[in-house]
């Protein structure tokens, strides 16, 4: 394993605690982790969230929880990982080398074998509709006064599957709805219409401000600053529209993230997180392999595996992983039973979710399934518990309450709780 970027000098003296640990992993053969680009800052960096959503439902058996040799196991082997004694599917060779930095839960029982419900429930930590999904919730709960950039951005390719766009923000309202980036196109209206003269735009802005100053006098201020703020935010987004511009990333980064959708989307995700957006979701499609499951997983895993490791590596290097929680989940897993078409079907009873980064214990595999993968054997995990865990890892009190419009609502399902052994 040579260092991926031999041109980058590594200075051990400046590495963080985490990268020292990772440096040890480097000695085992994985390198290029210890290159902090983090700017010195007095303020603790904001916690951030990156959700990699494997839409359609990735097979746990071809990824994190292989059962080679079992009648449900399929044709692939398992491989050793950087964690002694832990093996994962051979379709994830790169991930295997960083298992010591991942946190994998093999005992998820969400019991929802359905795309629509699963998309909502796995992201909101609830079955009952109307609650904000993880990205919206975390955007709200991580918000700081004076934030100008949107709190939550969702990146995916255009086209398939309405169920990926189920309402995000719920009762948190439109402010916490994801800004949607389709096919890496920037959001609409970041530039004035070409026909508009700058002088006109200037006068519009002057007239608006003067009118607002006059109107504000003698009135209760409550809604006025929030309205003004949206114009300030608009100005900031227009000025900083390059945060959505992937052309600003180096050709080398394009290459190592991959030119395919997922690679490009992850590169944009990193760019946005680096720019200060607090939550980003990248959706990776086409895991719904009712036919030819094994072929499809070869294709999907190849994209996913390499890009994931590049991304985590990059986040680590930039000093971002310390304050960024990366969650890798789909809406469900896939059946242990292999159907007549060589496919695996929808499945929620015993499957896997992975995490990395801030707040979770690296190098941990939690829970297990039985020999054929049909049931959870140890430490069953409910979707509500996962949601609590994500929030807690982000430094959020998951037993807290939203107080919105005179209404009190628990941030996470009160019948569930964080999974303590997973938390760093």
């Amino acid at each position: 394993m040579s260092r991926r970027r031999s041109n980058l000098a590594v200075s051990r003296s400046t590495v963080s605690r985490r990268t020292v640990l990772a440096g040890a992993a480097g000695a085992l053969g994985y390198g290029a982790l210890a290159y902090p680009l983090r700017a010195a800052s007095a303020e603790a960096p904001r916690k951030q969230l990156l959700l990699l959503f494997l839409s359609g439902g990735a097979s746990q058996l071809e990824t994190w929880d292989p059962k080679p040799g079992a009648k449900t196991g399929g044709p692939f082997r398992s491989i050793a990982t950087s964690l002694p004694g832990v093996r994962i599917g051979e379709l994830l060779p790169h991930s295997a080398k960083i298992m010591d930095r991942l946190t994998v839960v093999r005992s998820v029982n969400s019991n929802i074998p359905d795309h629509f419900q699963g998309h909502y429930a796995m992201q909101s930590g609830r079955i009952v509709p109307g609650y904000p999904v993880l990205g919206s919730a975390a955007a709200k709960l991580l918000e700081r006064p004076g934030d100008m950039l949107p709190g939550y951005v969702s990146i995916r390719r255009d086209g398939p599957k309405a169920y990926t766009d189920i309402g995000d923000a719920g009762f948190l309202g439109a402010k916490y709805e994801a800004v949607r980036i389709l096919n890496n196109r920037p959001p609409e209206n970041l530039l004035p219409p070409p026909s508009l003269k700058p002088a006109v735009a200037d006068t519009v802005e002057r007239v608006r401000r003067a009118a607002n100053d006059r109107f504000g006098r003698g009135r209760a201020v409550a809604p006025l600053p929030s309205y003004d703020t949206t114009y300030e935010q608009a100005k900031v987004l227009m000025q900083r529209r390059e945060i959505f511009d992937l052309a600003k990333e180096s050709p080398a980064d394009h290459d190592r993230y991959g030119k395919h959708d997922f690679g490009q989307h992850c590169l944009l995700a990193r760019r946005l997180l680096q720019s200060g957006v607090s939550c980003v979701r990248v959706t990776h499609f086409d895991w719904d392999a009712h036919q030819d499951n094994f072929y499809w997983h070869q294709v999907r895993c190849a994209e996913f595996d390499r890009t994931l490791v590049t991304l985590l590596d990059d986040l680590e290097h930039r000093g971002m992983l310390e304050h960024t929680l990366v969650v890798i989940s789909g809406e469900m897993g896939r059946t242990p039973q292999i159907n007549n078409l060589g496919g695996r079907d929808h499945w929620g009873r015993a499957w896997s979710v992975a995490m990395a980064g801030c707040g979770v214990k690296p190098g941990l595999v939690y829970g297990s399934t039985n020999d054929t993968g049909t049931e959870v054997k140890d430490d069953p995990v409910k979707l509500g518990d996962l949601f609590h865990t994500y929030l807690t890892a982000l430094g959020i009190d998951s037993h807290g309450m939203y107080e919105i419009g005179g209404r009190t609502n628990p941030v996470a399902d009160p019948a569930a709780k964080p999974i303590a052994p997973l938390l760093a």
Binding site: E177, T230, A415
Partner: protein
């Protein structure tokens, strides 16, 4: 009106004395009365969903009659635009911008809009509307569009249970789906499943080539288990606080009028859906009258006496308990007459207060109703107000009138002229005999072109599907849209007949400033504002620059908080 009732003070006077009593207790001095400009804009927005034209605003401001406010209220209530506006408000309230999972299994927007508009134009009482909405299976000969409430929710029983509770009874029992609500002793899982039992036998029945109806079965027990206590329960249909219905035991073999089959829509002999429609919209039903009284109050005062609107329970008492009781009793005594209720609300001093704080005072708590609230315009009010301020509504109706070659066409919203046309307007609304088609219908059809012109504007400001309209929450996409969208530019063009064209034809800056401010903000400009207009205009050297300056002035005011808010 009976003699006994005539002796009672009018509702608007009771509102004022009860609100005043609370203000005294709180030691709060209320704001003074709104000035005419505040009032004319607010009342147009609240009763017709759109700001007044400059002509209407000017006429009202210059009217010296002491009773002009009452006259304007009555004129606006009598106009077809009142029905159109209330239909939009209730559409958003009842549908919450949902679309069904399979979008074609729905009542068309046009049919639903017509259904609601007709109901408000004809003053159909609220209990009657609710009876129809909850009773509809979409197969009625008359008004099948009422089934929309069920269809947009996919006829999904949990979704229906929650929304029947929220929207018609003011109780959000969502948490009680899985367990007794730990927060409030009066939200029980058994209440949730009591409503659920009414709706759980229904499902969507698609109709070719498009649309759907509601099918229902004759059997199905309603059981539930608490996730906290694992306690199990079983229930028949029951409304919160009411008695459990004893479903009649169906005679063997006679359970169905139409037996459900692969193609046949099941129609049971005994329908729990019809039971719901019969049982719920009654004065005896806990929360029914209070809910609608509280919802309409919130529509005009920016906040419910019980707030949030679907949180009527013991731990969340009304800010003015006696007042809410009085409003609910009025509803019952006046057979759920919504228009009459709205009239009383708007006649009150509490409604007609200024949004300017009394000198030296800090902002009072919202639930004191001491000062007129600053409310965001709804997406619908904003769309129509943009069209009005830019002159597009007048322009469109002038074109239609010209096409119809009528000599002296009545213009949209003209009833706001406070002098004579009041009776004419009342006639058009009440007596469709004046034409082959009622006024509201003509208006709905004619408005379609204006809706197309402003479609993206509505989309940019519409709330999230499935969420109640909440507090004013502006978002950055909207500011970006209003600043940068090319789709907005056609509204800001100076075509003949628009506000910009009218302003462009004026040479003196003082009258021009007045026309601009009346058109956009329904008031006359201050000297400072007139000064700003004339200074900007004096800076423009060429006719092209002058046009750009006028466009900037109009655009800038349209982006102002004063325009964005109902104040």
């Amino acid at each position: 009106m009976s003699a006994a009732r005539a002796a009672e003070p009018a509702l608007h006077q009771e509102i004022d004395s009860l609100v005043a009593r609370r203000l005294t207790e709180l030691k709060i001095t209320p704001a003074g009365p709104s000035d005419d400009a505040e009032f004319v804009r607010r009342i147009h927005l609240d009763l017709t969903g759109v700001i007044p034209t400059s002509r209407q605003a000017r006429a009202f401001l210059d009217d010296r009659a002491p009773a002009k406010r009452r006259r304007l209220i009555d004129a606006l209530l009598a106009s077809p635009d009142y029905a159109l506006h209330m239909a939009r408000v209730f559409d958003v309230m009842l549908v919450e911008r949902r679309v069904p999972t399979i979008t074609s299994y729905d009542v068309t927007t046009a049919d639903w809009r017509a259904y609601l508009t007709e109901a408000f134009a004809a003053d159909r009482p609220w209990d009657e509307m609710v009876r129809e909405i909850l009773g509809s299976d979409g197969a009625e000969a008359k008004r099948p569009a009422a089934v929309k409430f069920y269809l947009v929710r996919d006829v999904a029983p949990h979704s229906l249970t929650r929304d029947v509770g929220r929207l018609f009874l003011g109780v959000d029992l969502q948490c009680a789906q899985c367990h007794d609500d730990p927060r409030f002793a009066d939200y029980l899982q058994a209440d949730y499943y009591g409503i659920y039992a009414f709706v759980e036998r229904m499902k969507v029945h698609p109709v070719m080539p498009r649309g759907a109806q509601v099918a229902e079965t004759a059997e199905g027990k309603t059981t539930f288990t608490s996730v906290f206590t694992a306690k199990k329960g079983e229930t028949n249909p029951r409304l919160p606080g009411g008695d459990m219905l004893a479903d009649p035991a169906p005679e063997k073999g006679k359970e169905y009028v139409v037996k459900p089959g692969p193609k046949e829509r099941g129609i049971p002999t005994y329908s729990r859906r019809l039971k719901l429609s019969e049982q719920l919209p009654r004065t005896e039903t806990k929360g029914f009258a209070r809910n609608i009284a509280n919802r309409l109050w919130a529509q005009f005062f920016g906040r419910g006496l019980v707030h949030p609107l679907d949180m009527h329970h013991a731990k969340n008492p009304p800010s003015h308990p006696q007042l809410l009781d009085r409003l609910a009793r009025w509803m019952v005594e006046h057979r759920y007459d919504l228009r009459g209720f709205v009239r009383e609300l708007t006649l009150s001093d509490a409604y007609q207060r200024s949004s300017l704080l009394p000198a030296g005072a800090g902002p009072p708590p919202a639930e004191a109703y001491a000062v007129a609230p600053l409310r965001g315009l709804t997406a619908e009010q904003l769309r129509w107000s943009w069209l009005q301020a830019t002159g597009r509504i007048d322009q469109h109706y002038a074109k239609l009138d010209a096409a119809a070659q009528k000599p002296a066409p009545p213009k949209k919203s003209e009833p706001a002229k406070t002098a004579a046309p009041k009776t004419d307007a009342a006639k058009t609304a009440a007596a469709p005999s004046s034409g082959p088609e009622p006024a509201w219908k003509t208006r709905l059809a004619a408005n379609q072109a204006l809706e197309r012109l402003s479609a993206t504007l509505l989309t940019a400001f519409a709330g999230l599907p499935g969420q109640a309209e909440g507090e004013f929450q502006p978002v950055v996409d909207q500011a970006l849209y209003l600043r940068n969208s090319e789709k907005l530019l056609p509204l800001l063009a100076d075509e003949p007949g628009t506000t910009l064209a009218r302003l462009g034809a004026m040479s003196e800056s003082a009258p021009l400033a007045e026309e601009l401010y009346l058109s956009v903000l329904a008031r006359r400009p201050t000297p400072v504002e007139t000064g700003e207009v004339s200074r900007l205009l004096s800076e423009s050297k060429t006719p092209a620059e002058r046009r750009e300056t006028l466009q900037s002035l109009l655009w800038g005011l349209l982006l102002s908080a004063e325009f964005r808010l109902n104040h």
